[in-house]
Structure formats: C-alpha cells, structure tokens
C-alpha cells in the first residue's frame, strides 16, 4: 500500500522536545526532574522515547467496541514489542495525521488494518536498520523480539536505545508483515486498556468533563414538528443556582451552577408550543404504513428476471408482513457535550462518534474556520449510533456562543429517550413463489420506512440465488428524527428476512439450514445479478453453527436458525428455546462469526455476546409510542432494557480464517431476532411478525 503523508510525519519533526518520566509531582524531589527522555514520534500511531517507552495513539473514538485496545494491538504486533511495555493514549481529532477518525459502520479495523500494520512494521524495520548500522552487520541478519533488536553475534539493543538513531533513517517504503503463525498478541485475549480506570471510577466520560469557568445547562426541546410560541423565564431565572434562561431554535436552555438547581428550575418552566400541521401519533404512522404499502411511488431497488410472470406460475405462495416501531438508542451515558465558544476559536469536548463532521458542523454554524475548532474526544458511555448525529454538539456550541461561557449541556434520561434520532419504524411485506419441488422461483420485498431512507438491503441473500426478484422501497418523511441505530435497517430487516425464510422452508418442506445451503450452492453455480457476499464464507459459518449447536440433534430442545451478512462479516446463529410454565424461554444462542482475523479474542467475544443480548432485548421489549409529537416511554421504568437475569447462555465461536479483519461491533445483532423468533416458533408454533415480541 501507499504510504500516506498523513500516516507518517516527516522525520524532521521527530524527536522534538523532551518530557519527564517517572516524575511524581506530589512527592518527587528535584533530582527526579533529571530523568528526561527524548520523545520520538515516528508516525501518527506511535512514539518511542530513548528510555524505551512505547506510546501507541488510538485515533478512533472509543464507544465500548474496544477499538482503543484493538488498534494498538495491531501496531504492537508488527512493531514486535511486549504488550506490557505499551502505553495507549486516545488521540484527539487530528485530520492532518489520521484518516477516518470515526466510529460507525463497524469499519475501523477494515479501513485501518494495513495502516496499523505498516505503522508498526515500518518502525520495526527502522530499529533493525539502526542496530545493523551500529553493529556493522547486514540488516537481514538481525531480528527482533519484545522490543529488542537481536544481532547475529548475540548483540542485543533495546528499541529505546536505538530510537534516536532510527528516527534519523529514511522511512522505508516497503515492509514485510509478520506471518500470522508468528503472532504473539493478535488473536489472544487482551484486556481493555481503560479497565483499571473504569474499575476505580476515573472521570473518563463526557459527563465527567470539568473545565475552568464551566457552567451546566439542560435544554427543553419541543415535541417533534412543534414550534415554541412562548415560555415563562422570569421566575425561573430568579431560582437559586440559575444563571440564565435563553431560547434558540424552538428550544429553551436553562443554564445553572449545578445539575439539581437546573432540574428544579425545569419543573417550574412552562413552554407553550404550536404547530402548522397535525403532530404525529401511533395512528399517523400506522396510516402511513398502509399508504406506503399501496403506493405506486415506491422506488425499485433491484429487479432480476420477471417477478410477476414467475409468480403467476408458482405452485405455492408464502406471504408475510413484519413491522417494527421507532426505538431509542438509550446508551447508559445520556447525550451531553462541552463547548467553549470564543470570538475566534472553539473548544469542543465530549462523546461523539464523528468528531470531524462535528467540527465541520460547528464551523458552518458559527462561521469559525475548522482549524480554529479543537475537538477533544472522551470515552463514550455507549452510543449504538446515537452519537453519529451531532445535534447535541451543535446545541452545546450554539448555547455557549449565546451565553459566552464554557458550558456542559447535559441531557436527562427523559431528554435522551424523547430526543430522537431513533431507529426508524418500518413495515416489510414479503412474497415468495415456490415451484412444485419447493424451489423459490420468485421473491418480492417492499419496505416502507418512516424517515428510513432505503429501508431494504436489496442485495441481501437469498437475492442472488433466485431468478425472479423485485425489491422496492418507500420512504415516508416525518417530523420524528431518525438516524443509524446499531446495524442500521438490518437490525430489524435481518429478523424479517430470516423469519420469512424459516416460513418459506416450512412451506417448501425443507430444513431451514439445508434450504439455505442449497440456495448458496446456486449462487456459486448459477448466480443471478450482482452478488455482494461470498457464498463460501456464508456456508462455512452455517456448517460450523449446525455442528457446534448440534442442529436438530437435541431432544426436547427447540432450535431456530438464522444467518446474516453485514458490515462484511458473516454470523450464523442457532437459538434454543425451552417451554417453562407454558412460556417460551430462550436458553442458549450459539453464534459462529467470520470477521476474518480476530484481533482481540476477549473484545471479539464481548462484541458478539453484547450484540446478541442487544438484539434480543430490543426484539423482546423495545417500543416508543407517539402522541401529539411526543415519544413515550421516557425512562427505564417503562422502556424495558434486557437485564442480567434474562440473558441466555451464549457461545461465541469464530472462524478466524486470517482474512483481513472486517466489522464486529454490529454483525452479530441482525441475525438475533430471527434465530430467536424461529426457535420460539419451533417451540410454540406461534410466529412473531412484529417487534417487540412481548
């Protein structure tokens, strides 16, 4: 790959400045100050100082997906240092040094795999060259181990001792990467680099940000589609601890000295809203679904062969409609952001998945150039897509510009749950036409979404295996704000597709796994149209899941199958359900994932198990209702989150085939609703067509 200017700082800037090591500001005497080391920043991702301290910089925002650990693991592997020797630091937004400094789409490792390996391998090569020069030996006679270069005659030099000399060498354009059989860190269980800080309660998150002169604020937002007519600010302003009450963009911001003062003031604030059009309710959305299903304005997303003609020849027809509500992301840390807007500069700090767009949006809003806007990244208390929208960043910046103070805008749980960018509500209608032997000869899907964009994924399996396909999408605009929610669209579409295939298999008299394998065989031998997935990788996860979960070989256990390809990864799941006291209970989910190389096994298991629990909880419980433009419920007393006493046993297996790593934060979620619904059907003969199930 090409060496990007952004990835590699010019060597002229290496070894600038010094910093102190091992200096305790509270107890050290002056002599400790003498322990100084030259800090060598070799490239965007790493620095090694002359005392051998290795600092790895993790540029992407950490949201619980483990990227702050996984990225440095890759660099450390190719650099060939001991993991215990490494210190990891979160890099702030730096568009000159880093590309794609965002969290979303499960794409970080896919994008950066080669960059990270190159960052490490390049510096390893420079260390070897520096040692070879020093020892006057051929560089090919040197090797490395745990942060040392080893010479042919038993010479040994630490990276630290070589760092300064290495930094003066030209950056090699060609490097070789380790053979994966020699990996010492990649593929092992590496603990999260923030664990110690988490378990001792260090202030790591957005809501923990404290800056000199900072004030707190909360913002009262209007119902979706409503405008603010008036509000009562005078009495509120006089309340203790309240600094100001200001309004912008139909919102009222209460600025105060502390959270409780603001909460008290909010209880006394009255806002009067109006609207030009009727505000939305559940009935509005149901009506839109009905209209969207009948509309002749749906967009054709994919057309293979002639669906109508094939359908006319079908011996059997299977039809089903699936529907999901709007749901909230509900990360445990509600939205919040810090902004300090000055006349010609801005400091933004907090939890955003997309710092660069945040910077740009604030620049556009305040007419301050991006290079005057600094963005500090905090650890994020979850996000699940909510922090891909920058509404909360813009609010904080606008408020700070109005009150001319550094401000931390805090959302309450109610604000967060009522405050939008939800997973869009959608309805799906499927039709499959079967011939006399039960083969699918025609396949139809219409998706109707509310602020969903394209609610289908028109190239999804089994498309590619069927001669006649028609996929249509209809999007209804709404005042309710929506956005990506972990595995956008597929978080529900995956359930609908996999539940529908289960129903088709039953009507066709086929085993759900065998039917899918036969379809994949068709994709291999006689593909229809554009194919976006690799059938062989699909087959592998399916076969391994069937074997690991002993598909249909466990008497008294009802199993449901699903398999899904998303974010370039493949996940097959088998859910197991037992009937207890007449009620189905999910007892186990076995998942086999092909995400290519598993970088951190501990983190990978966490992602798969977490995604399955997330998918299950939201399939079982989650729903927002709308009345007059207001969403409810607004807190966890009525908006049920899955709890620890409700989770099944989960086995997370990985194919780990050494292919460059692909997404893992999301791919295990989309198949979950389907495997569980299909297992519930096996146990109860009751099919679920709507989420939530209960």
């Amino acid at each position: 790959m090409k060496t990007s200017r952004r990835d590699f700082i010019q060597k002229a800037s290496l070894f600038t400045g010094v910093f102190t090591l091992g200096f305790d500001w509270f107890s050290a005497d002056a002599s400790a100050m003498e322990v100084v080391a030259s800090a060598g920043r070799f490239n965007a991702f790493l620095s090694i100082d002359s005392l051998g301290k290795v600092i790895l910089y993790s540029p992407n925002p950490e949201i619980g997906q483990g990227i702050k650990t996984a990225f440095p693991v890759v660099v450390a592997e190719e650099l060939d240092v001991d993991w215990a020797q490494v210190q990891v630091e979160q890099a702030n937004l730096d568009t000159k040094q880093f590309e794609r400094q965002l969290t979303g789409g499960s794409g970080a490792l896919k994008h950066s795999w080669d960059r990270l390996r190159k960052a490490g391998a390049t510096v390893r090569k420079m260390m070897m060259q520096a040692a070879a020069d020093q020892w006057k030996v051929d560089v090919t006679k040197t090797k490395t181990s745990k942060g040392f270069v080893l010479g042919p005659a038993g010479q040994k030099a630490s990276y630290g001792s070589l760092a300064e000399a290495a930094s003066k060498l030209p950056v090699p354009s060609e490097v070789t990467y380790k053979d994966r059989k020699d990996y010492k860190i990649i593929g092992t269980r590496v603990k999260g680099v923030d664990n110690k800080n988490v378990v001792t309660g260090k202030p790591l998150f957005g809501i923990d940000i404290r800056k000199p002169g900072m004030v707190f604020a909360q913002i009262v937002r209007p119902p979706f589609g409503a405008t603010l007519k008036s509000f009562s600010a005078e009495d509120v302003k006089k309340m203790p601890g309240i600094i100001d009450v200001v309004s912008f963009k139909n919102k009222v911001a209460i600025v105060g000295e502390n959270t409780y003062a603001i909460l008290q003031a909010r209880a006394s604030l009255t806002c009067d809203y109006g609207s030009d059009a009727p505000l939305e309710s559940n009935d509005t959305h149901a009506k839109w679904f009905d209209e969207g299903m009948k509309s002749d304005k749906a967009q054709v997303m994919r057309k293979d062969g002639d669906f109508s003609a094939a359908m006319a020849k079908a011996v059997k027809v299977v039809e089903a409609t699936y529907e999901c509500p709007f749901i909230s992301h509900s990360p445990m840390e509600p939205m919040n952001f810090f902004a300090d807007v000055k006349a010609d500069s801005v400091l933004l700090a907090g939890p955003t998945q997309v710092p660069q767009p945040a910077q740009k949006a604030v620049s556009d809003l305040l007419k301050i150039p991006v290079d005057k806007i600094q963005v500090e990244l905090s650890k994020m208390g979850g996000g699940f897509g909510r922090r891909l929208s920058n509404d909360f960043v813009l609010e904080a910046a606008e408020l700070s510009s109005i009150i001319k103070k550094p401000v931390l805008v805090m959302w309450t749980r109610e604000d967060d749950m009522a405050g939008g960018t939800y997973r869009p509500a959608a309805r799906y209608h499927f039709k499959a036409g079967l011939d006399a032997s039960g083969e699918i000869i025609a396949f139809y899907l219409r998706g109707v979404g509310i602020n969903a964009g394209n609610s289908t994924r028109q190239d999804n399996f089994p498309v590619g295996a069927i001669e006649n396909v028609l996929i249509e999408s209809f999007d209804q605009k709404s005042a309710v704000s929506t956005g990506p929610w972990r595995a956008p669209i597929t978080n529900f579409l995956g359930f609908a597709e996999q539940a529908f295939l289960d129903e088709v298999a039953e009507v066709a008299g086929k085993d759900p796994i065998q039917m899918r394998l036969a379809l994949l065989e068709k994709v291999k031998t006689k593909p229809v149209g554009k194919i976006t997935y690799e059938p062989a990788r699909f087959e592998e996860v399916i076969k391994q899941a069937a074997e690991k979960a002993q598909w249909k070989k466990k008497p008294g256990v009802h199993q449901g199958f699903s398999v899904y390809y998303s974010h370039l990864s493949y996940v097959a799941q088998i859910a197991e359900v037992k009937v207890e006291n007449g009620k189905p209970k999910v007892t186990k989910v076995t998942a086999v994932t092909d995400c290519g190389e598993v970088v951190n096994l501990s983190g990978a298991e966490n992602q798969v198990k977490g995604a399955i629990i997330d998918g299950m909880g939201h399939a079982l419980f989650a729903k927002l209702n709308f009345q007059a433009g207001v969403a409810s419920p607004q807190n966890f007393n009525a908006y049920r989150m899955i709890r620890g006493n409700e989770v099944p046993v989960i086995e997370a297996h990985f194919v780990n085939n050494g292919i460059a790593p692909t997404g893992l934060g999301e791919p295990a979620l989309p198949p979950t609703g389907g495997s569980i619904a299909n297992a519930i059907y096996a146990a109860t003969k009751k099919r679920h067509y709507k989420q939530p199930f209960s």
Binding site: E62, I63, G64, Q65, G66, R189, K191, G192, D194, N195, K196, V198, V199, T200, G201, K202, P203, F205, I207, D208, R210, F216, P240, N258, T259, Y260, A261, Q264, S330, P331, M332, E333, P334, K379, M380, G381, G382, F384, T412, R413, S602, G603, N606, Q607, K609, G610, I612, I613, D614, G617, N635, F636, N637, M641, I642, R643, G644, N645, V647, I650
Partner: protein, 153 residues
C-alpha cells in the same frame, strides 16, 4: 443547615439544598465523578454507592437522609483497584463502554460483603437490578464468582 457526613472516610459538610440527591452532591459539589447518572429514578443502578455499607441508589436519595452516614463511592472502594471485585472485573475484561460498571461493581462488592460465597442464582438475582446496555452480563456474573473465590483465599 449544612449536612455532615463521611465520604470515602473523609468528613464533608454540604451546605446545599437538603433535597439534592446524593448523586448530584457527589458529582457537582464533591467532584467525585465516578458515580454515574443513568436514569434518575432508581431503575438502572449506575449511581449505586454504599450508605453505611449498604448499596443504595444515590440518584433518589436526598442528602438530608444521609446526615452523619458513612458513604463509600467507587473512588473509595479501593483507590488502588485491589478490591477482589475490581481485580476480577479487570481479569475477566468485563467492561465494554464502562459507563455502568461503577454501579455494577458497588452492587457486586455490596453483595459479596453480605454474602461472600453466593450461589450462581444469588449472583444473577443480586445483579439483576443493574442495567448494562452493552450486555456484559455474562462477564459480570462470572466476575462476581471469581471475586468470591478471591475472597475465600
């Protein structure tokens, strides 16, 4: 009138609205930011602290109710992170985003204080009041078990 209590073995005096929930007193007035806000209605457990050794939801507990009480927050459990629950949490790599974990740890440590060797079911039940949106529940339960073993030693 100021409320006097002990927080992490330090005597503190809070001259603020006595209705202020302990959570906000800790975070906004004592700069102890480890205790987290999650729901404000005692549903999620993110704000769990010990009051006189018992795990409590600090988001609904007014400071008027903790006059003269001994309060322990995540920062005071063991600042070096050597409490068996903290060690187990790290060893089993429990946290994903980490936000709820202070509350989980204070709940778990409270559970083990009263019942050092709980059964699996007692662990599941004892931890069921704390939400983890990332779904780290399996490792939470395993870590409580591991911590219990460490206490035995």
């Amino acid at each position: 009138m100021a409320i006097n209590c002990t927080v992490n073995k330090k005597k503190v005096s809070l001259d603020i609205d006595p209705n202020t929930p302990l959570l906000w007193a800790l975070r906004d007035h004592l700069s102890l930011l480890g205790t987290k806000y999650g729901c404000g209605i005692a549903q999620c457990g993110a704000c769990t602290v010990w009051v006189n050794g018992e795990p409590m939801r600090s988001c609904v507990l007014p400071i008027s109710a903790v006059s003269n009480a001994q309060i322990t927050t995540i920062e005071g459990l063991d600042p070096a992170g050597k409490h068996p629950v903290q060690v187990a949490w790290d060893e089993l790599d429990v946290p994903q985003c980490g936000y709820c974990q202070a509350g989980q740890i204070m709940t778990a440590a409270g559970l083990l204080k009263n019942n050092p060797h709980p059964t699996d079911q007692e662990i599941v039940d004892g931890m069921a009041g704390n939400i983890c949106r990332c779904g780290t529940y399996h490792r939470i339960q395993e870590a409580v078990k591991l911590a219990s073993k460490k206490i035995k030693k």
